[in-house]
C-alpha cells in the first residue's frame, strides 16, 4: 500500500474545498501540514494558489473529459464504432418488428432472456477486472424467471444515483418479458433469439460501472457517451454532502460533485465534438505566420435557439484564432438552453 494514498486523498479533498469556497482556517492549517510533508503536494498546491482567481474546477473537468475521450478513441477505431452502430440498429429493428408477427413469436424470446444474465456475467468474469462479479457466477442460470431481474437490481444497488435511465428501462423490459408465460419457451431457438441475447450483451456495459462504483472510465464501447451524459444530471444532487468523504471528486472516482456542472452539451455528444475540433481546428494563416499556437478557452451560455450566447474568452491567442474558435463552437447546436456556463477549450495545432 502506498503510504501517500490517504494523505493525497485528504489533500485533494481540501483542494476541492478551496476551489468551491467551503475552505476555512482549519482547512488551511491541515492543508499546510500536508503540503509541508511532501514535495509533490507542495508544488501542486503552489501551482493552484499561484492563480487564485482562475476557475480550476472547470479546467480539471475539461481535462478529465479530454482524457476520457482519448482513452475511448484509442481503444476502438471509428470503423468499428460504425459497424457496431449498424449492428445495433439491425438488432433493434429486428426486436421492434418481431412481436408484430404474432404472440407466439413474442413468447419465444423469453428463453434467451433467461440466458442473458449468464452472458453478462461471463462477459464480466472474462473482462480484465475479475473482481467485478466474483459471487455472481455462482448463483447463475437455472433460476426461476423472476430471479435474473432481481439479481440485476441487487447489482446496481450500491450507487443508485448513478443508475442510468436506459438501464432502468432495460431492467423493466426484462421484468416484463419474464412475467410472460414461459411454458412455450421451449420453442425452437430462431434467429430472434440470437439477436435478442446479442442485444442484451450489447446493453450490458452500463451494468459494469455500477458494479465498479460507477467508474465512467470503465464503460465499454458505445455506451460511454450515454453514460457520461447520463451521469451529469445526477451531479447536482451529490454536491451537497461535500464534507462527508475525503476522496470524492478528485480521486478520479465518478462522483465529481463540483467538477461536473449540469451544463449544456454539444449536439452529438462531447466525444463527437472533440473529434470535430481535432479535425477542424486549424491555425489561421496569420497565427501561423506569427509563430502562435496553443488553445483558446471560451465560456458561454446557451440561448433558446441552441446557439452559444454571451461568449467570453478565458484565454485568447489572437491572430484570428479567437474568432475561429468562436466560429467552430457556434457551428454546433447545444442543449439544453440555460445559464449554466459551458467552458470549451479549442486546441490549435501546427
Amino acid at each position: 500500500m502506498n503510504r501517500h494514498t490517504t494523505d493525497d486523498a485528504r489533500f485533494l479533498y481540501l483542494l476541492e474545498r478551496w476551489l468551491n469556497g467551503a475552505f476555512d482556517r482549519a482547512d488551511e492549517r491541515e492543508l499546510h501540514a500536508l503540503t509541508e510533508t511532501d514535495p509533490f503536494r507542495q508544488e501542486a498546491w503552489e501551482g493552484f494558489s499561484a492563480l487564485p482567481e482562475s476557475d480550476h474546477a472547470a479546467q480539471l473537468h475539461q481535462i478529465r473529459r479530454r482524457l476520457q475521450a482519448k482513452r475511448s478513441s484509442r481503444r476502438v477505431p471509428f470503423s468499428v464504432w460504425m459497424s457496431a452502430a449498424a449492428a445495433l440498429a439491425l438488432v433493434v429493428a429486428a426486436v421492434y418488428f418481431w412481436p408484430k408477427a404474432g404472440h407466439k413469436d413474442l413468447v419465444q424470446t423469453t428463453q434467451p432472456v433467461e440466458n442473458a444474465p449468464t452472458d453478462i456475467q461471463d462477459d464480466l468474469a472474462a473482462a480484465p477486472d475479475p473482481g467485478e462479479a466474483p459471487g455472481a457466477t455462482a448463483t447463475r442460470p437455472t433460476a426461476p424467471p423472476q430471479e435474473p431481474s432481481a439479481r440485476r437490481s441487487e447489482q446496481s444497488g450500491p450507487v443508485p444515483e448513478y443508475r442510468q435511465p436506459e438501464q432502468d428501462d432495460f431492467a423493466a423490459d426484462m421484468a416484463n418479458e419474464e412475467e410472460k408465460p414461459a411454458d412455450e419457451s421451449t420453442a425452437t431457438a430462431g434467429e430472434p433469439e440470437a439477436a435478442r441475447s446479442k442485444e442484451v450483451v450489447r446493453q450490458a456495459p452500463p451494468a459494469q460501472p455500477q458494479g465498479t462504483a460507477g467508474v465512467p472510465a470503465f464503460n465499454t464501447a458505445s455506451d460511454k457517451v450515454a453514460a457520461t451524459e447520463a451521469a451529469k444530471p445526477a451531479a447536482p444532487a451529490t454536491t451537497a454532502p461535500m464534507k462527508k468523504k475525503a476522496d470524492s471528486a478528485f480521486a478520479s472516482e465518478p462522483p465529481k460533485p463540483l467538477l461536473s456542472s449540469p451544463a449544456a452539451t454539444p449536439n452529438g455528444g462531447w466525444d463527437n465534438f472533440q473529434d470535430f475540433l481535432r479535425r477542424n481546428a486549424r491555425l489561421p494563416e496569420a497565427a501561423r505566420n506569427n509563430n502562435v499556437s496553443g488553445s483558446v478557452r471560451l465560456q458561454f451560455t446557451v440561448g433558446p435557439d441552441g446557439k452559444p450566447a454571451n461568449v467570453q474568452f478565458l484565454q485568447k491567442l489572437g491572430f484570428g484564432c479567437d474568432e475561429e474558435a468562436e466560429r467552430l463552437v457556434r457551428s454546433f447546436d447545444w442543449a439544453p438552453p440555460g445559464n449554466a456556463p459551458v467552458v470549451v477549450v479549442v486546441p490549435f495545432r501546427r
Binding site: F40, R64, A217, A251, S252
Partner: protein, 196 residues
C-alpha cells in the same frame, strides 16, 4: 484468485496493481484510472511552472501521452514519485521552450508561505492596536483586510466571506492570499518574527 479477496474493484487497486496490469495487457483504462488519481496534482505542478491554465491543461494531456509510452519501457518502483518527476521535467522543458517570449512570471519567492502570518495570528488573537499585526492589518487595502480578518479571526469560510462581500469566491481567494503576503512582508519589516 488473490485479486478477488484483496480488492473487488479497479478503483481500489493500488497504483502498482494498475500499473502492472497496464504493462501486461496494455489496456489504457488501467493507466487512465491510475493517471486520474494524480491528475489534479500533476495539473497543479504544471500550473506552478507554466503559470497558465490553458498551457497546463495541454501539458497534462501530453504528460499522459508520454506516460503511455514510458510506463511500458521503464521499470517503475514507485509510480507516484516517478510520475512527479516525469511531470515536473516535462513542464520545465515546456517552460524553457517558451522562455524567449516574455510572460508574466512571478518569481517563486512570491509564493505563499504561511509560517510567519499564521504564527502571528496564533499569538495575537485578537489583534491589539499597538501590536505590529494590527498596524500591518491597517495598511492593507480594505478588501484584503476584511477578508483576512474574517478568515483568520472570525474563522469564516471563503464562501461566507464571498457572500458578505458580494464578491466571487475566486476574488476572495485572491484577497486572502495577497493580504497574507502583504502582511508577511509588513511583519518582517517591523522585525517581528513569530515562531509557532
Amino acid at each position: 484468485m488473490l485479486q478477488f479477496f484483496r480488492s473487488d474493484r479497479p478503483s481500489q487497486w493500488t497504483d502498482e496493481d494498475l500499473l502492472a496490469r497496464y504493462r501486461s495487457d496494455g489496456d489504457v483504462r488501467h493507466l487512465g484510472l491510475l493517471y486520474e488519481r494524480y491528475m489534479p496534482m500533476v495539473y497543479g505542478v504544471c500550473l506552478k511552472i507554466l503559470r497558465d491554465p490553458g498551457k497546463s491543461e495541454d501539458a497534462v494531456m501530453s504528460i499522459y501521452e508520454e506516460l503511455t509510452r514510458k510506463a511500458k519501457e521503464h521499470q517503475v518502483e514507485s509510480f507516484r514519485g516517478w510520475l512527479y518527476v516525469l511531470a515536473r521535467n516535462y513542464c520545465l522543458m515546456e517552460w524553457r521552450k517558451n522562455q524567449r517570449r516574455p510572460t508574466d512570471y512571478r518569481a517563486p519567492e512570491d509564493m505563499v508561505h504561511y509560517d510567519a502570518v499564521e504564527a502571528a495570528f496564533e499569538v495575537e488573537l485578537p489583534a491589539a492596536e499597538d501590536k505590529s499585526l494590527g498596524k500591518c492589518l491597517e495598511q492593507l487595502p480594505p478588501n484584503q483586510r476584511t477578508s483576512v480578518q474574517m478568515f483568520y479571526l472570525e474563522e469564516k469560510s471563503y464562501k461566507e466571506i464571498a457572500g458578505l462581500l458580494a464578491e466571487e469566491i475566486g476574488k476572495v481567494r485572491s484577497y486572502i492570499q495577497n493580504g497574507r503576503r502583504n502582511l508577511k512582508i509588513c511583519l518582517e519589516k517591523t522585525g517581528t518574527r513569530y515562531k509557532s
